[in-house]
């Protein structure tokens, strides 16, 4: 599969990928009240990654998402676990939910709490996973220095 990334396709993908990423974030924030959530959000972002790969292979993926997937995985796990400990330090039980009213532009005022942070952790892990898998399984060019 020695495809050259076509610039037009690549731009097209990026153009499509952007809204997908935004949509995926929306799913994370809205998930508590509507269908969605961290998993769905992460998976949508993952689909964006797959699209990027199909546009130009691992190189394009790396250019569009210049983060190591292991960093996402680690960060996601740490955030999710820390949420649990955060509740502990707040005087609640482990993973017990606490809330904060915050307002975010566009989406509006939401009751954000530890559960949201937890969902963000989930999101990061799922995104990191698709990124890592696509990079690992999609690797096939001699000149690429694949890194997790």
């Amino acid at each position: 599969m020695n495809r050259r990334p076509s610039p037009i396709l690549e731009h097209g993908i990026v153009a499509a990928g952007g809204p997908l990423l935004v949509f995926s974030l929306y799913l994370v924030f809205a998930g508590h009240n509507q269908p969605g959530g961290g998993f769905a959000g992460g998976l949508v972002a993952g689909v964006a990654v797959v699209l990027a790969w199909s546009a130009g292979g691992s190189q394009t993926v790396r250019r569009i998402v210049p983060i190591r997937s292991s960093a996402l995985l680690g960060a996601g796990l740490v955030v999710a676990a820390l949420t649990g400990f955060g509740s502990l330090f707040a005087g609640l039980g482990f993973l017990e939910s606490g809330y904060l009213e915050i307002s975010i532009p566009i989406i509006g005022k939401i009751k954000a709490g530890s559960t949201l942070a937890f969902d963000v952790g989930v999101y990061l892990v799922v995104l990191g996973m698709t990124l890592g898998l696509v990079r690992a399984l999609g690797e096939d060019r001699p000149d690429e220095k694949g890194a997790m």
């Binding site: 599969m1 998930g31 508590h32 009240n33 509507q34 269908p35 969605g36 959530g37 961290g38 998993f39 769905a40 998976l43 949508v44 993952g46 689909v47 797959v50 790969w53 997937s69 292991s70 995985l73 680690g74 996601g76 796990l77 999710a80 676990a81 649990g84 993973l95 939910s97 809330y99 009751k111 709490g113 559960t115 937890f118 969902d119 952790g121 989930v122 892990v125 799922v126 990191g128 996973m129 698709t130 890592g132 898998l133 696509v134 990079r135 690992a136 399984l137 999609g138 690797e139 096939d140 001699p142 694949g146 997790m148």
Partner: protein, 765 residues
Amino acid sequence: MPYLLLLHAALALGLVAARRRMGRWAFVVAAAGPAAVLGWVVAMAGDVLNGMPYEEIVEWVPSLDLVLSFRVDPYALLFLLVVGVAGTAIFLYAVRYFGSDPRVAAFAGTMTAFAGAMVGLVSVDNLLAVFVFWELTTITSYLLIGYFDHLKEARSAALHAALVTGAGGLAMLGGLVLLGTEAGSLRISEIVANPPAASPTVSLAWALVLIGAATKSAQFPFHGWLPGAMAAPTPASAFLHSATMVKAGIFLVGRLAPAAVASTGWWRGSVLTIGFVTMVVGGWRALRQNDLKLMLAFGTVSQLGFLFLLLGAGSAELLFGGLALLAAHTLFKAALFMVVGAIDHEAGTRDLRRLSGLRRSMPAVFWSAAAAAASMAAVPLTYGFVAKEAAFDGLLGTGLVPIMAAAVASILTVAYTGRFLFGAFGAHLEGHEPAGQTAHTPRNSLLWAPLVLAGTGLVLGFFPALIKPLVAQATAGAYGVEGAGKLVVWPGLVPALGWSLVSLSVGSLLVWRKEILDRATDAVGLVAVRFPTADGSFRRSVAGLLRFADRSSGLIQNGSLPTYVAIITLVAVLLPSTSLLGGVAGFDLPPTGEILELILGVLVAVLAVAIVFTRRRFAAVILLGGVGYGIAGLYALLGGPDLALTLLLVETLIIALFALVLRHLPAAFTRPRTPQALRALVAVLVAVFVFGGGLLTGAARMDAPVSDRYLQDSIPEGGGANVVNVILVDFRGFDTLGEITVLVAATLGAAGLVLPIIRRKENAT
């Protein structure tokens, strides 16, 4: 007493740890163990013989009745004396027997550990504690027999001994626990005082104990391991395989016989039979050996048979004779082993056809051997004679058959004793390369130990009163009978003397006129050749076991993954069905569902069936994705929008990942080579099980599900209207934490699998 054991343990560990600095002088240090035992015996003898047994309790696991309850009465004291005397002599002898090698110190350490185990064995009153020390002697014996571990014979002999005595030990453990349960106590003294009533269970217990004792004391038909154990260095042979360890079984039957006789009808007869057969077989085979050490080993088997029946038969008279003979046996047999060791050491061979004229070159050795041999053959004026008189005296009360059998064995004993003495110290046989020409008088330290032991035998022959109180007290302690026998230099003209003299003279005749013996052996040989030896049977059964293990595990463990999965699924389906089938009768079928559900269901079914028949990998993947989408549709229909959304996304990604992998693989499946009918059958069973199980369990529901709580609390407590999401991140957020961990690990694993190999290929090109 606990300190005595700790001393042995400390010595053993210390010697092993400091082996590089010790060399053979380790044995001097090690001798402190048996010497301390000897000292302890002397110090306690007064009290113990005056009816005040030493008692002390060390608890280990009292809730399992595993208690080291020490109890040293005169009976135990006699055995302790044996361990102490033989141990001290043999350890000091061993200093000169070995050269300088760090391994010798480790050997000395193991010997010390054994000595400690033996001390513990004879001085505890709790059957489980006996077993603990019993097995300790087994494993130390295993290590000692295998000392010359570069020799295959030594390794297999060690295994033989360990397996036979180990098997006996485990049978005995079962017996002991059973006995303890039936008798209500694991303390020997209490069992003897209150034997369990006769019953099949009790009989089984006694039989198992008897098997254990018989294996340990090398009784027929388990005796085969003992000659093999001669592969051990001579000090170990002398100490373990003649003086002490092999007496453990005898010790135990002697202890338990009063109770066993009281609660079974067959004990005495079995013990007598086993003992006599062992005596005769052992004596016979001793006569046939050319290796001096093996001759002694079979001789030991024979003597052990005698001791076994004397101590185990359960009568005071026999016990008296047996204990007297036990002391005699220790003295002469240990001395003779050391003599053989000295001969081997100096002449370089133990083959009596090649040895010659050692009487002149090794006079001191000769005189020790002569004195010990005289005692073994029960020549008058030796202690062996005194003891055997007591034993014959007891046997006379048992009947004519026993005394005749004992006489036959005694004749054989005299015969092989003569062969030993004249073979080793007389001229070598014609037609064999002579050896021993270079023999020189061994260093003194190799000599004095056998001399002292053999000399003691002579001294006791004149002054049997020195040991009589111990023997008499031990007998009295077991049966409450005073004066069960007598130990005297000259018994007077009694029947026992007659039997002794007959044995001696016929035996001497056999030594003198060898051709009689040869003719007899030829005649017996015609029959004996048809019987397997114990050693041969053992080897055949091990080979058989290995074959059986190969076959059976080859059958079960065939290495094929589909087989494993088939077995697992079959068991998973069939085992629960045994119970579930009982509930099939009578319940209502649930509703069929909506029409849309039916359409989607049929779609999914068609796609799934198509997967089976497609031959292209990619098509199969697409179909799998189709199934996934169909199920997502079903989920949406059943009220799970989150599920449907997630499944759609997951299926999309899975297809993408499949596509990434399939780039590298050929497009078509290879055809399966094996028949598919069985697979289909398993598949159908699984499907039926899932369907039926689902119906049954669904119909069994009695209560409302817990999720009603979620519906109530989701908004007020969980702060979210999407109950499923609230469950995922809040109510059951912990599941989710685990789940993302799975994702992290799976990704790392997948990347770790694929990236290195791609890199390697890149480097290669």
